[in-house]
Symmetry: C2
Subunit: 350 residues, 2 copies
DNA sequence: TTGTACGCGTTATCAA
DNA sequence: TTGATAACGCGTACAA
């Protein structure tokens, strides 16, 4: 059994008969002059040994980890998958690696993730999920963020967070207002609403948008008709069962996100309820699967894949100062562009 | 503007009035004795400065990066998302971080990912996607893998790869045989098949399983009825359009994976084709969404989330020698357990 | 019980 | 044009 050993710059230097410094200069295409024959020799040695600089050592000396942390709430939800895909695609092109943390909205895990990212000297962190409304979280996270920023770690969040970081507003209230207004335009006057996790700021914002629009149109809603949920397909199914009690009283249901809307529709259909004939359903998010549900879901499309790419560009532009040429849309845009897409889950009542 | 600086072990030592070694001993709960008052002082300093050891420095000295690379073909496909979720969940508990690479089955990207993981001294790599049948890929990948193994990096793959690594067989042939046999049991005799990316070994294995079963039952199939696809929902939709020509000749279609089967069913329904009345459809994979399609898809369920967790356990057990107590199912099992789940996409013809 | 000195693999600085 | 040396932050063998 041979000894396991990494190939280091020293091995290359020895093989090429030069000093490590020279090898380093060749590897990094340094400005420092290197004799062309020497360079050739070094390159040959590098190829022969299949040498690659150790990124930990580089990171230490350069204080550049080239690591980007992405914290998601649920990677099985296409919402997050699309976002992650966009971020990774761009940053990978610039030689960054993406660290993923799937937290299930667990505060402890979220905090531990941030901690580890700090320990690795991550250069950027993306909080893809909404803010978790919790005092302990706020305080601890706030402390970490201060420290992270102090060593120039760039932090980006999707949806608003109460921290001094780059927030990409998803305009949750606006989205909920739009989709609710759309239903009203179609003649609906009595609604139910399927809510998300209470702890999520996003949940609150969307609910607020929904209620605001009702109020503006002089429509009352009982608390019973705000059905609890958790953003998941299964949660949507449970909400559907709950909804059955109120089916006679309402004509439409606004669901806080697509994933849950899909679950709700699926369960309703199982129970023999016709959508949109008996009840209309809308969601928010515009995940790919919303196109393919039965019936296809009318929803607000948030372009998450391209947002992910924008976030990637934003990060790269902040980190690689040379690359200022990148065209960043989100740099000074307040809100992400959104589109209401009419499909077949809403019935026109007028 | 204050100077940006990381808090290092030296800062803690200075504040506590001790040497860095003492701090290190406290941080790492070393066996080496430390006076309890000293320990208290150090801990206080650590808390005050919110000190965390720099993982790059630790990695360098200990030759332990605590990084695990996961290479996926398409993170938006629940198949991969579930796998990733499981891997991350377990390894995170043991303080590893997960690096994700979304390759879209691009050979160059796959190779670059491996390269970067090597540079970071990743301790384990999971190839979640099937093998890409390509000579250049095979050769280059093979070289990398040899080198990775030489420094004790554990490599695990899902589905068979022609490398000397831990292969978790997904029993693709068997799965295809089972699901095809099931259709035959239900009285079907004329089939179409929707294929996956040609380059994928998985594709070939499943197709082979399908053909074998037909042959065994003396059923002929024309090449026209092997419809090309790419594992994606959209690919499934395109296949559906193609399939229309042959609708009179067949009673069932076997689709290489669930994602594509979902697309196929969706498009067929758009065209007014009734499933399973006009045609029966089956998939392979058992992704969560297959439960919720219309109609729910009869498929072979591969338990990906738990497989992900098993892979996580396997990796941890290999890396943390102390934790030999972990119960690893996949250690010596040849095949992953699979289940045929009957739902409503198949019509009984007898 | 504590501290000193060295090395992990790099790169930057300086001297030759 | 090249090489020696120090330093990044840490852990550890050894000395005290």
């Amino acid at each position: 059994m041979e000894v396991k050993k990494n190939i280091s710059i020293k091995d290359v230097a020895k093989l090429a008969g030069v000093s490590p410094s020279t090898v380093s200069r060749v590897v990094n295409n340094s400005d420092h002059p290197v004799n062309s024959k020497t360079r050739k020799d070094v390159k040959k040695a590098i190829n022969k040994l299949n040498y690659q600089p150790n990124r930990m050592a580089q990171g230490l000396i350069k204080n550049r980890s080239k690591m980007i942390g992405v914290i998601v709430h649920d990677i099985s939800d296409e919402y997050f998958a699309e976002l992650l895909k966009g971020i990774e695609e761009i940053t990978f092109d610039y030689d960054y690696i993406t660290n993923i943390f799937n937290t299930n909205r667990d505060i402890e895990k979220e905090l531990k993730a941030i901690n580890i990212l700090d320990a690795y000297q991550a250069e950027a962190i993306v909080l893809t999920g909404g803010y978790l409304r919790d005092d302990y979280y706020k305080q601890t996270m706030g402390k970490h963020i201060k420290q992270l920023k102090n060593r120039n770690c760039h932090i980006v969040s999707v949806s608003s967070h109460p921290f001094e970081i780059k927030n990409i507003e998803l305009a949750n209230k606006l989205a909920a207002r739009n989709i609710t207004g759309y239903l009203i335009d179609k003649g609906h006057r009595s609604f139910a609403y399927v809510n998300g996790p209470e702890i999520l700021e996003t949940t609150q914002e969307r609910l607020c948008g929904f209620k605001t629009t009702l109020k503006k149109n002089d429509i009352e809603i009982q608390d019973d008709l705000i059905i609890p949920g958790d953003f998941s397909f299964e949660g949507g199914r449970r909400a559907a069962s709950e909804l059955l009690k109120y089916l006679e009283d309402i004509t439409a249901v606004v669901v806080v996100n697509d994933q849950a809307a899909l679950g709700l529709m699926w369960e309703l259909r199982q129970k023999g309820i016709k959508i949109p004939d008996t009840i209309s359903v809308v969601g928010i998010g515009g995940i790919p699967a919303s196109k393919y549900s039965y019936p296809p879901l009318t929803t607000i499309v948030l372009p998450l894949y391209s947002l992910g790419k924008e976030i990637g560009k934003y990060i790269v532009s902040k980190l690689d100062s040379k690359k200022e040429t990148i065209d960043i849309i989100i740099e000074d845009r307040e809100y992400l562009q959104m589109n209401l897409v009419e499909r077949q889950s809403v019935k026109e009542l007028i």
